[in-house]
């Protein structure tokens, strides 16, 4: 029996990973092993159609986020939607140490003229949803689309809940076990497609 090519397997799994959360998990593992460039080949070169942000064609609403859309980094922390620069929980650009800065990189100052103190920067799904909606939420199933010339990982924020953030019935989506999709986030991988 011929062994499948790893790149081909990764591409196939990434392309079909939206069917089953199990396959999504396996796809993610293979994705990590053989590299994202292979996956890029599996994603259609056209821009994915958007519903409320690029790549998201379903109805579940965005997770609460200090920016326009729920863009996060690989740890689940908020990023500015437009350019992917890190922002704190108040939506302010921050530098490497977490201090709020303006667009030129200068420290923001308060009405007393002193540099503004840091604000918390916490995980959109695990921290924000947990506190705002009193749910034990986790980032779980994901799928990939081509957006802005790069692969976008659309990531479900899953919780054991009957209702989603929209207020109506939550869907199982790509969540594991008894969890259902409460809200959605995305992570731009930077890999061209």
């Amino acid at each position: 029996m011929p062994r499948p090519d790893p790149a081909e397997l990764a591409a196939r799994l990434a392309a079909s990973g939206t069917r089953r959360s199990f396959l999504a998990r396996v796809g993610a593992v293979v994705f990590a092993v053989v590299g994202g460039k292979m996956v890029a080949a599996a994603v259609a070169p056209e821009e994915a159609e958007s519903f409320h942000f690029c790549g998201h064609t379903f109805t579940t609403g965005s997770c609460p986020h200090p920016g326009k859309h729920p863009r996060i980094d690989r740890h689940g922390l908020p990023l500015r939607t437009s350019d992917g620069r890190p922002i704190d929980n108040l939506g302010r650009l921050i530098d490497r140490t977490g201090d709020p800065i303006d667009r030129n990189g200068n420290r923001l100052r308060g009405p007393d003229g002193a540099p503004l103190a840091r604000a918390p920067r916490t995980r959109i799904c695990q921290d924000w949803v947990r506190e705002r909606h009193h749910l034990d939420a986790r980032l779980q199933g994901s799928w990939f689309r081509c957006c802005g010339g790069q692969i976008r990982k659309l990531w479900d924020c899953c919780a054991i809940t009957k209702k989603r953030i929209n207020g109506d019935a939550a869907l199982h989506g790509y969540c594991y076990g008894r969890r259902k999709v409460f809200c959605v986030t995305f992570y731009d991988t930077g890999l061209p497609c």
Partner: protein, 420 residues
């Protein structure tokens, strides 16, 4: 328009007066609203644009260059006064003209003044646009014959307009945006109603101002972050923290070094001491000199301005992963977390007689919240603003709640007072 608000159209003199009143209300109200919007959304960064537009306007109005004015080339809808009742059409006409941009603009002045207003802060913008609305109302109030004379003087009026715009350009060049604004922040209130606050000049120089309940005013130049309680005033100055009897300015205690954010309730003084990146919240018994560390941070995170009442101290503590309101006891050093949030920013609490107020920021909204500590009822919102405005420091006492309101675009800060 002018002929519309007349007895021949309105039916009688009382109805004409009513139409004129509603027209003026609409014009002034909408113009002031536009000013408020411009001032809120504007920024001093618009100042160079305003100066350039004013110079272009001078050239245009003097007839030296031909420049188009962005506008909607129409007049108020004539059908309104046939189809609508008098109160509606007169108010609508006033609102339409007060908005400035919904009708024909023979001169460029309005747009230039609007941009200049947006660059000059909320107060200036509201005043400038309110004056515009009043001018619109005056146009309807004056006799038609006078308006005819004004129309005949169109060319001289344009030259006058050019001179006015030149003066505006000069004023904008001479006075940078926001330079005339003196900010007031960091309120502190005594039980008898006396208030102290920091006054910050545009150059950054600060003065602590004490306004006793009986009237008058005392200034402490170079000081900031006041805390007023009974006869005592604590403040930060270049040398550290100083405690004085404010009526005589007799020094009670001076803490030299990196001390800041004092809160006084004699004999206790609570303040933050910095050791490089580390900070400590320390209470000091001014009679014995005994110091007790209430809280600390080992990184560049934030320990906020404390508030002390009946031996209980409230302050905020912000780290990268959480925001907390803390409460400590100066007598035994016991500290507990009052509130903890991992997504909101909770800052600047003030405590008096079992009532806690604080600022909560999240998703572009800043709220002043109030909670009775002995009550299980949820906190209530006392005030709310949206970005670019924020709330800053707070104070509570003498039956009132005080807080600093700050515009992040213009840098202006002022103190707002609400009944408790």
């Amino acid at each position: 328009m002018v002929e519309t608000i007349a007895p021949a159209v309105c039916g009688s003199r009382p109805r004409t007066a009513l139409a004129l009143l509603l027209f003026a209300t609409g014009a002034i109200g909408v113009a002031a609203g536009v000013g408020l919007l411009l001032g809120s959304l504007g920024s001093p960064a618009l100042l160079p644009v305003a100066i350039a537009l004013a110079i272009a306007g001078v050239l245009r109005e003097a007839g030296l260059v031909r420049l188009p004015v962005p506008q909607w080339r129409r007049q108020v809808p004539e059908s309104w006064h046939h189809a609508l009742p008098l109160p509606l059409w007169s108010l609508g006409y006033g609102a339409g003209l007060g908005a400035g941009v919904l009708t024909f603009q023979p001169v460029a002045t309005f747009l230039i003044v609007a941009v200049a207003a947006a660059a000059s802060g909320t107060t200036a913008a509201v005043l400038a646009l309110t004056a515009f609305g009043a001018g619109r109302a005056l146009g309807a109030a004056l006799p038609p014959a006078f308006v005819d004379v004004m129309a005949a003087l169109y060319r001289p009026m344009r030259r006058t307009n050019a001179v006015a715009l030149a003066l505006l350009a000069l004023a904008l060049v001479a006075a940078p945006a926001g330079a005339a604004t003196i900010s007031q922040l960091d309120p502190s209130v005594a039980d008898d109603g006396g208030v102290a606050y920091t006054q910050r000049a545009p150059g950054g120089a600060t003065t602590v101002v004490v306004r006793p309940a009986r009237g008058g005013s005392i200034a402490v130049p170079g000081a900031s972050q006041p805390s007023l309680r009974g006869p005592y005033l604590a403040y930060r100055d270049p040398g550290g923290v100083t405690v004085v009897r404010w009526r005589t300015m007799q020094v009670v205690r001076r803490l030299a070094g990196a001390w800041s954010k004092p809160a006084i309730e004699f004999p206790y003084l609570v303040a933050v001491r910095s050791f490089g990146e580390r900070q400590r919240m320390i209470s000091i018994d001014l009679r014995t000199g005994l110091q007790r560390v209430l809280d600390g941070l080992t990184t560049g995170d934030d320990l906020g301005r404390p508030s002390i009442d009946r031996g209980q101290v409230a302050w905020h503590k912000t780290t990268r992963t959480s925001s907390r309101l803390m409460m400590g006891n100066v007598h035994n050093g016991h500290v507990r977390v009052l509130l903890l949030s991992r997504f909101r920013l909770l800052t600047n609490p003030s405590l008096r007689r079992g009532i806690l107020i604080w600022i909560e920021q999240t998703l572009g909204i800043s709220r002043v919240r109030e909670q009775r500590l002995a009550s299980r009822r949820p906190s209530r919102v006392r005030a709310k603003v949206r970005s670019p405005r924020l709330f800053w420091t707070t104070a509570i006492g003498a039956g009132k709640v005080f807080f600093t309101r700050w515009n992040t675009n213009t840098g202006e800060a002022s103190i707002v007072r609400l009944p408790k």
